[in-house]
């Protein structure tokens, strides 16, 4: 039988909690939220650049490298869009990652990819922000596509 060592190491993080001179958790959360609000303009600018890059890459004939690049950009968008409160855009990017990580042999894969990219662009527009039912319908359609790109 292989040798297994089990022990409880020192948790250096523990000493920072329950300090009576520390920040209230509620206050810490407020400060973090304020910091994120201040960073919002630069995060939005970066998000738009990545969306542009993703759209341009998707317009090219799909190669293995291109697919990897689109996956990375979509993965970035999951985080970046969510950080600025664009949750639907974040979910659409997640659906695109699912699509790219899945089986791409289906004849519908390329169409599903382009639908995702078009949806990402549409979800970023101000008009989309005001139309909640349409966003919900778009997301439901994307999820169906990414789960079933085979014919």
């Amino acid at each position: 039988m292989s040798k297994v060592r089990v022990f409880t190491p020192e948790n250096r993080l523990a000493r920072f909690f329950e300090d009576p001179n520390g920040l209230l958790c509620a206050h810490a959360l407020q400060r973090a939220t304020a910091n994120l609000s201040a960073a919002r303009p630069s995060l939005l600018a970066a998000l738009d650049l990545k969306l542009e890059a993703l759209t341009a890459q998707a317009a090219l004939p799909l190669s293995s490298e291109g697919k990897t690049l689109i996956y990375r950009l979509a993965e970035d968008l999951i985080s970046d869009a969510g950080a600025v409160g664009l949750e639907d855009l974040s979910r659409a990017a997640h659906s695109l990652c699912d699509l790219l990580a899945g089986d791409e042999r289906g004849a519908n894969f390329s169409a599903a990819l382009h639908v995702h990219v078009a949806a990402l662009v549409a979800l970023r527009t101000p008009a989309s922000a005001a139309d909640r039912p349409r966003r919900v319908a778009v997301l439901a359609g994307l999820v169906r596509l990414s789960q079933k790109s085979d014919p």
Binding site: K3, F7, L13, N21, L23, L29, A32, D76, D80, C97
Partner: protein, 197 residues
């Protein structure tokens, strides 16, 4: 998992946190959140090489990594096995955008304490940090795995086997040593009472 107690206090001023993320904006989000929590030493890097240097040179309290960057899972795996370094037991959180079951399993098996889904929110990150700070999880060093105990539930040995450990309990109920206690006796045992002095 319990919600965060807003009246609890934290003092992370002297904590040192390493953040490894390929995505500059995601690294910045984590930095802004941690600065809000009062952490002064937030080291954000986007390369495994930089993270490795930092890991070996600084004493850290927390490591937040997106393991989906190239070499990310391998870095976690390496960090847990770097026995000569003071940081190899430290809490490690894997934060990833595309958290498929395979990715989550890979992060867990590489030795991450926790996997959190991006986009990260301040609330969730503080909850997880608090949870890790308060937990008393054992650390396992085995030929195929080094990291915090991956078992969150102890459901005993698999059905039909007696278990391999000396402290595994038998599935057979022991002989009755005394008659069942009445509900009143149980209540008497558990109910707190004032002590008359």
């Amino acid at each position: 998992m319990s919600a965060l107690d807003p009246s609890a206090r934290i003092n992370l001023r002297r904590a040192s946190v390493l953040v490894l993320d390929r995505n500059e904006q995601a690294g910045d989000v984590v930095r802004q959140i941690l600065l809000g929590f009062g952490v002064r030493a937030v080291h954000v890097t986007d390369t495994v090489e930089d993270a490795r240097k930092f890991f070996l040179q600084q004493t850290l309290e927390l490591f937040i990594v997106d393991p989906l960057l190239e070499g990310g899972f391998e870095f976690l795996h390496w960090a847990r096995r770097e026995n000569e370094c003071v940081n190899h037991h430290m809490p490690m959180i894997a934060a990833m955008g595309h958290q498929t079951e395979g990715n989550v399993r890979a992060a867990r098996d590489a030795g991450a304490n926790f996997v959190v889904a991006k986009p990260l929110s301040a609330d969730v990150l503080l909850q997880r940090i608090e949870w890790i700070a308060r937990e008393n999880r054992q650390f396992i060093v085995a030929p195929n795995y080094v990291g915090p105990d991956r078992r969150f539930k102890n459901e005993g040995p698999p059905a039909g086997c007696d278990g391999r450990r000396a402290d595994d309990l038998s599935l057979e109920a022991p002989n009755i040593a005394a008659p069942n206690m009445s509900q009143l006796e149980v209540d008497e045992l558990l109910k707190p009472r004032k002590v008359a002095l």
